[in-house]
């Protein structure tokens, strides 16, 4: 394989590997911007993956599968919202419970569907003109539609947070819910909304695995991507643009292993598979060690809101 071809292959794989993480990270970013920690991402992705898969097989339509994944992820988000916003439960444990429940439930539901092929997975859709640009073309513009949509999502989210009133309200609720409340913003309701939206995006991230990149269903197929997404939000300093870069970075590390092996590098593939996880720890430590890391978090993240608390 020529050197350039090798790089193109890695970078292209980076995008594919990074996309599910990107969706999940964006979902988590939204939820955390509203002040709620959601550690159930892994479970929500799995539920999304299995729901999307099942719906796609039953209906023969992957778009319906995607919709099902969004609804399922949203439902999980709703549960988390009820527990953490209304019942003021410990956000960490609630998220964990959902991660475990999601893992178990998805395994249970998906068992009957293992091995069945998806009729019409999301195939790559090379963009005219853009797809023919040397180097950048194959790296960026010959992917499936969900990849392109993810870019749209990043842009939309960026715009939403920067230039819209609703985006301003979202950030206010995560920074200082007391301030938002005293100005008449409905903290509980808005938190519910964004936790659910976050869950929906996690579902989409999972569906990407089962309907596009694999495409298949395997128990626990996310293999920790959900947790990496949570770390990614911190690494991204809660900014959508950085999340995009980070997701592809992680995706790249992920893909690197596979490609190095194919290139005949004599390092056990197990070590290469460890890279994303070790990378996550390293990156997280670096971000936290620099003062900026800790300060970028939404001010009220992780704290339940109680108006009459004296």
């Amino acid at each position: 394989m020529g050197e350039q071809a090798f790089f193109i292959a890695i970078l292209s794989s980076a995008v594919i590997a990074g996309t599910p993480i990107l969706y999940a990270a964006l979902g988590e970013l939204i939820t955390e911007k509203a002040g709620v920690t959601n550690l159930g991402v892994e479970g929500m992705m799995l539920i999304g993956a299995v729901s999307g898969f099942m719906a796609a097989i039953v209906t023969g339509n992957s778009w319906i599968g995607l919709l099902a994944a969004m609804l399922a992820g949203g439902a999980m988000g709703l549960i988390h919202a009820i527990l953490t916003v209304s019942l003021r439960a410990n956000q960490v444990v609630s998220g964990l419970a959902l991660a475990l429940f999601g893992s178990g439930l998805s395994g249970y539901l998906g068992k009957a569907y293992i091995g069945i092929p998806v009729t019409e997975p999301f195939r790559s859709l090379p963009l005219p003109v853009l797809g023919d640009i040397p180097f950048l073309g194959p790296v960026l513009f010959r992917h499936d539609v969900l990849v392109y949509l993810s870019w749209g999502l990043v842009l939309t989210l960026w715009f939403f947070l920067k230039r819209t009133r609703a985006g301003l309200f979202l950030q206010a609720i995560g920074e200082n819910p007391g301030a938002a409340d005293s100005l008449g913003i409905h903290v509980f309701g808005v938190r519910y909304l964004y936790v659910i939206v976050g869950g929906m995006l996690c579902g989409v991230g999972g569906a990407y695995l089962s309907l596009a990149s694999a495409p298949s269903w395997l128990e626990n197929m996310t293999a920790g991507r959900g947790w990496i997404a949570v770390a990614l939000v911190i690494f991204a300093l809660w900014r959508p643009g950085r999340a995009l870069v980070g997701a592809y970075l992680f995706g790249g590390i992920d893909a690197l292993g596979f490609h190095l092996q194919a290139a005949g590098v004599h390092l056990s593939h197990f070590f290469l598979q460890m890279l994303p996880y070790i990378f996550t720890i390293t990156v997280l430590t670096v971000v936290m060690a620099k003062r900026g890391g800790r300060l970028a978090a939404p001010g009220a993240l992780g704290l339940p809101y109680d108006r009459e608390e004296r």
Binding site: L83, N90, L100
Partner: protein, 356 residues
């Protein structure tokens, strides 16, 4: 006159609720499970019956339940130590694997060691490896406030891959027909069992540890420090306690006990190092610890319940229901417990208000 529902914070967490909530949660989880079972065209009553009969209805079933409960007990005890100080050790699974790996090193590299050295040696190595695996996230957390949930979790995957690497590679049994298994351990490396059952001395270790933990955490000076730090860091600082040192000590302990669980599994049950040593004990143990409210005695009991669920799940596979029904039920119990905690912290007050 209007009726309003208000949530009033309780001054004392309700003791009655503390017991009722876990019980009701188990019930609720089974109900929820029944819903999913029905949705997938299965008879919940039949499924649950098979599960219970399988797990608790026969000598073999009971024995298996205990076998599955032992690693849960040990991991949950380890986890509870960390949770007492609000250190969220989600890395029990990885610490388990590292303990298993380190313990295996001894029989694989020195198969002719006399029994008196072998087992204790494996124990020490298992604890050491698990402890160190827990220390790394502890350092990151104490020094740079790096979220220990993520770091311990990431290390889980690394540990599992490490063991995979070993059994697919350098430690693969040359006589094993190319299966990813290490060589079988000699008899000296096997934890003794009770009679001819599969229940190994790990059970004793778990019970001993539970007693020890109860003494240490409820009665000792160190336990007291942990309690204060976990309750109020501010008060701990006011009292002059060293928070950082305790973070290290607690995570070392927590990891060591989970490493011990790995050693016990590999020595008492499996007899070799292989992939998939754990069907998620480290994660299930978190649920066990939380439901037990970190109480060592309760942990032993709840672990048996969850062990029964695990075995039941295995049995129910014969009727075509996937074993993951067990982990689904386990997860459901946890989130009902989590939601139910609301009832222990808040009182529901129905009041009539004069409408102005």
């Amino acid at each position: 006159m209007a009726m309003t529902v208000k949530f009033e914070k309780r001054l004392n967490p309700s003791v009655a609720m503390n017991v009722a909530v876990p019980l009701l949660s188990v019930l609720a989880a089974f109900l929820l499970g029944a819903v999913f079972l029905t949705l997938t065209d299965r008879d919940p009553v039949e499924v649950y019956e098979t599960m219970f009969k399988g797990a608790l209805g026969s000598r073999y079933g009971l024995s298996e339940t205990i076998v599955k409960a032992i690693p849960l007990m040990l991991c949950a005890l380890g986890i509870s130590a960390a949770f007492r100080m609000q250190l969220w050790n989600i890395g029990a699974e990885g610490q388990f694997y590292m303990g298993a790996f380190a313990a295996s090193a001894l029989p694989l590299k020195f198969p002719d060691l006399p029994a008196i050295l072998m087992l204790p040696g494996m124990l020490v190595l298992g604890c050491l490896a698990g402890g160190l695996w827990g220390l790394v996230p502890a350092v990151l957390r104490a020094r740079w406030k790096v979220n220990e949930i993520i770091t311990t979790l990431m290390l889980n995957y690394v540990a599992i891959l490490w063991v995979d690497y070993l059994v697919y590679g350098p430690w693969k049994d040359p006589k094993g027909f190319n299966f990813p298994l290490s060589a079988k351990f000699s008899a000296t490396a096997a934890l003794p069992t009770f009679g001819d059952s599969r229940i190994h001395v790990g059970l004793l270790l778990a019970v001993l540890l539970a007693i020890l933990f109860w003494i240490v955490f409820e009665k000792s000076r160190w336990g007291y420090e942990i309690k204060v730090i976990g309750s109020s860091e501010q008060a701990a600082r006011y009292a002059g306690m060293d928070i950082r040192a305790n973070v290290y000590k607690v995570m070392l302990l927590s990891g060591a006990v989970c490493g011990l669980a790995g050693m016990a599994e590999v020595s008492g049950i499996v007899g070799r190092l292989q992939p998939n040593l754990s069907p998620g004990y480290g994660y299930t143990a978190i649920i066990v610890a939380w439901i037990s409210k970190l109480n060592p005695a309760a942990i032993l009991v709840v672990a048996i319940l969850f062990g029964a669920l695990q075995v039941g799940g295995f049995f129910v596979q014969t009727t075509g229901v996937p074993a993951s029904v067990a982990s689904m039920l386990q997860g459901a119990v946890l989130f009902f417990v989590v939601g139910g905690e609301f009832l222990t912290k808040y009182r529901i007050v129905l009041s009539r208000k004069e409408v102005v």
